[in-house]
């Protein structure tokens, strides 16, 4: 990158344009700085990840928070833990996300392997992102429509969610919140086998039970499950009643034993078949984002590590799409 462009970036960003090991790190604070920096890069034929990187960590304003609709606007650099702290006094929460997710900034949670997904009652996955504003490679800003659901063509935010910034950089998002739980209670059950445990757990999730987390561990001939239900006081009691009924129907019984937390480690996304294998191998697991399709687990060895940089399915198709959307490869080129 020539000195002229570097000077332009320094003029734009001041001390938020730093050189480290020969690479430029740009840290815009507001949207127009990011748009301006990208324009300079584009004019110079620069490419992100080729000697230049953009950090959105300083773009961290939160608001407005709409308590009536339970949604909140936040910039991409807001850590989810910080967003959660902003929501809490307003009676809202992001809902039960995994510790690994909560450690991320909003932009990274949406664009990375979490793809901005959370589990909602009924065992469904739902995007945390109700609407997003994203900077496109040509410098335009795309604002998706903030509607609960739409039948207005393909869901174009799917290009942003899990897209690792290849098709657009998330600037800000309106996130769906949940009502802050007024109660939380943990109960443990012992099952005669893994299949019985998983059947009961999946049934309870499909029934609408809302779990902050669960733990599972095989001990001798029994398999133990511990769930932490959250919600209204009535809701928590109802959920635990449902779990109990499901457990008894599958030969389970309540137990007072607490399950140990697994060793801290990577979070992995597991299908339910993967999960059965992990339990049968005797590992102590902690489970999050429990839904009908998959779970996120700590303590597992299999499944998919939630880490950026893995190979995408249909690479040819997405490469062709990257070439169409970002012909100069300013966002790093094809995945």
């Amino acid at each position: 990158m020539n000195e002229h462009v570097k000077k332009g970036l320094r003029d734009l960003l001041g001390d938020r344009c730093v050189e480290s090991g020969g690479d430029l790190i740009l840290s815009p604070m507001v949207e127009h700085e990011l748009v301006g920096a990208l324009r300079l890069l584009r004019e110079a034929g620069g490419r992100l990840s080729h000697g230049v990187s953009i950090s959105r960590s300083r773009m961290r304003s939160v608001g407005p928070i709409d308590e009536k609709s339970a949604v909140a606007r936040a910039e991409a650099g807001v850590p989810l833990s910080e967003l959660e702290r902003s929501l809490s006094p307003r009676g809202l929460t992001l809902g039960p996300l995994s510790p690994g997710a909560m450690a991320l900034e909003l932009g990274a949670f949406l664009e990375g392997p979490h793809a901005g997904l959370r589990a909602i009652p009924g065992g469904r996955l739902e995007g945390l992102c109700l609407a997003a504003s994203a900077l496109l490679p040509d410098g335009r800003v795309y604002h998706s429509h903030p509607s609960p659901r739409r039948a207005a063509g393909p869901d174009l935010t799917a290009l942003l969610l899990g897209g690792e910034g290849r098709f657009g950089l998330v600037l800000a998002a309106t996130v769906r919140c949940a009502v802050k739980p007024e109660a939380s209670r943990t109960a443990a059950f012992s099952y005669p086998g893994t299949a019985a445990l998983l059947s009961a757990l999946r049934g309870a999730i499909a029934d609408g039970c809302w779990f902050e987390r669960a733990r599972a561990h095989r001990r001798d001939e029994r398999v133990l499950l511990e769930v932490t239900a959250i919600g209204t006081a009535d809701g928590v009691e109802g959920d635990l009643a449902t779990v109990s009924q499901r457990a008894f129907a599958r030969g389970g019984r309540a137990t007072g034993r607490e399950l140990p937390a697994p060793e801290p480690g990577e979070e992995r996304e597991l299908s339910w078949a993967d999960l059965a294998g992990e339990i049968d191998s005797g590992r102590a697991l902690e489970l999050y984002r429990l839904c009908g399709a998959s779970v996120i687990a700590r303590g597992a060895q299999g499944g998919m590590v939630l880490r950026s940089g893995a190979h995408w399915p249909h690479p040819f198709l997405f490469s062709a799409l990257a070439e169409q959307i970002d012909p100069t490869a300013i966002f790093g080129g094809p995945p």
Partner: protein, 525 residues
């Protein structure tokens, strides 16, 4: 919002039903070529006429006048995915347009052959795979009729949970292409929430199968769902299923105003409850329900049904052309009414459903809701599919009826309701129900009925009505469609809503359908 009424026929031109234009040579020749390869095809006028229309009321108005939407040049009935692939591959070479066709229940002109081409009827792709009870999923071909799939699942003790009012005349592929919703989406989600993976033949003439979780990268399924045939032909889907509910509760609750009823729905969701069905009828519809003797009280399954089942016999048969020609007076009369009916239905594990019903009732009572017992809910359930076959009676009376479903967050819902009613008050009689609720908002389902002295007047009024309604809804912050899709009807609204997102949509089109043969003209592509 662009003025669609002033555009140069963005919705297509009618043709004389008694004198169809001959099929275009390229398409007819391709159909013949496909037939020689054992793909069933036809270029007969009868078949072309049959596939020229969907259930868009505009087509129904034309048909009453002896006109039809532009017909396809030919029709193909592929027997399997390989034949779909062959059709797309050859059409791509010959640059012949293809229009995927399910059961024709769309209401937006999404299957109109505005640029000719071959309609691909997918109903022969109707294979239903074995139920995977452990993984709780089933594979279904795109041409599988909704009711057939649900009946098969029921024999195994399962349900898909997708119950559109078009259940008897819509297919899995149509649901996916239009991003549809069933009446119980509150509990089971919209169709996009039910898909684990799908298969499609893209406009590149390549088969893609989207991955199941876990995977990294963008979710390709969500880019194909809702594409309305513009990117490819969906051939098969793996769908999530649920054990059939062991218990179900029904409840009707009367509120003193729309605002109270809407707030009750919001509070129910904030209370962590997830009814399978939530429907709040606005005052005029509630009044129609209540005017009958209690033993014969009827609850329409929707306001579209209100028009078909209630408004039509009560008003349309006697004075429809006259009264609906002056809708302002009817709307003023409706303004004087206040009471609203909320129907709630919970289902699932029996004790849980009963518990949640009681909790919801307690919430409603705090908002001055009056418990009407089970009957309104039961009646709705019994009549829930009655709607889709009665619209033509309204058309036959010389009037028209149509529906517009939008969605908005809770902070905007009442504004959308008021603005749309105000905008169309002089053009059509209007009613609305609120349903498909989420923690952050809900869908508003408007029903319109109007008439005009002659055919041209009817067409003008229809366009003016849609323009006014869409403009008002968009200005209040609603999305252009919640579950009917876009087709031709809402193209302008979609493009306005997408704004710079059009570039992303166009890029998708260029990659997945580089020759532009897939359902051209829809979604603005």
């Amino acid at each position: 919002m662009p003025d669609v009424s002033q555009s140069a026929e963005p919705w297509g031109q009618p043709v004389d039903a008694a004198a169809l234009p001959p099929p275009r040579i390229e398409a007819a020749s391709l159909a013949k070529e496909l037939a020689q390869s054992s793909v069933r095809t036809s270029t007969s006028d009868q078949d072309r006429l049959s596939y020229s229309r969907d259930m868009w009321p505009r087509a129904l108005i034309w048909i009453r006048q002896g006109r039809i939407p532009p017909p396809p040049d030919a029709v193909a009935w592929p027997a399997n995915e390989e034949e779909v692939l062959e059709i797309v591959s050859r059409a791509r070479e010959r640059k012949v347009a293809l229009i995927p066709f399910g059961a024709g229940s769309g209401v937006c002109g999404g299957t109109w052959a505005t640029r000719g081409g071959i309609a691909i009827d997918l109903k022969r792709l109707d294979e239903i795979g074995p139920l995977d009870a452990e993984r709780r999923c089933v594979d279904a071909g795109a041409g599988t009729m909704g009711e057939v799939l649900e009946r098969k699942l029921a024999t195994k003790g399962y349900t898909l949970g997708h119950f559109p009012s078009s259940m008897y005349m819509s297919t899995v592929g149509g649901w996916l292409a239009a991003r549809g919703a069933g009446q119980m989406s509150n509990k089971y989600g919209k169709i996009e929430d039910m898909v684990l993976s799908l298969r499609a033949v893209t406009g590149r003439a390549e088969i893609v199968e989207t991955p199941e979780r876990p995977f990294v990268g963008p979710d390709l399924s969500q880019l194909l769902i809702g594409s309305e045939g513009t990117l490819g032909v969906i051939t098969r889907a793996r769908l999530r299923v649920h054990p059939a509910p062991e218990g179900r509760t029904f409840r009707g609750i009367k509120f003193r105003s729309v605002a109270d009823g809407v707030e009750a729905i919001r509070q129910v969701y904030r209370g962590g409850l997830r009814p399978a069905v939530v429907r709040l009828y606005d005052p005029f519809d509630t009044a129609l329900v209540g005017r009958e003797k209690p033993s014969h009280r009827r609850t329409p399954p929707s306001l579209k049904a209100g028009i078909g089942a209630e408004l039509y016999p009560a008003v349309a048969r006697q004075v429809a052309p006259l009264a609906l020609g002056h809708p302002w007076a009817l709307n003023r009369a409706a303004d004087l009414m206040r009471n609203c009916l909320l129907v709630l239905l919970f289902e699932g594990e029996a004790r849980r459903a009963a518990r949640e019903d009681a909790q919801a009732l307690a919430i409603c009572r705090k908002l001055q809701g009056e418990d009407l017992g089970e009957e309104p809910g039961r009646h709705w359930y019994e009549k829930r599919y009655d709607v889709s076959y009665k619209m033509s009676k309204v058309i036959d009376s010389g009037a028209f009826a149509d529906t517009m479903e939008v969605a908005a967050t809770w902070d905007k819902v009442l504004d959308v309701y008021e603005r749309v009613r105000a905008a169309v008050a002089r053009l059509a009689f209007v009613m609305c129900h609120f349903s498909h609720a989420y923690l952050e908002g809900c869908s508003l389902y408007f029903s319109f009925a109007a008439s005009a002295p002659d055919a041209d007047g009817l067409e003008r009024r229809y366009r003016e009505l849609w323009r006014a309604a869409q403009t008002a809804a968009a200005s209040a912050g609603a999305t252009v469609s919640h579950h009917h899709g876009v087709g031709l009807l809402k193209t302008e609204g979609l493009l306005a809503e997408l704004n710079d997102g059009r570039r992303l949509l166009s890029a998708l089109k260029r990659v997945l359908d580089p020759d532009g043969v897939m359902n051209p003209g829809k979604l603005g592509l």
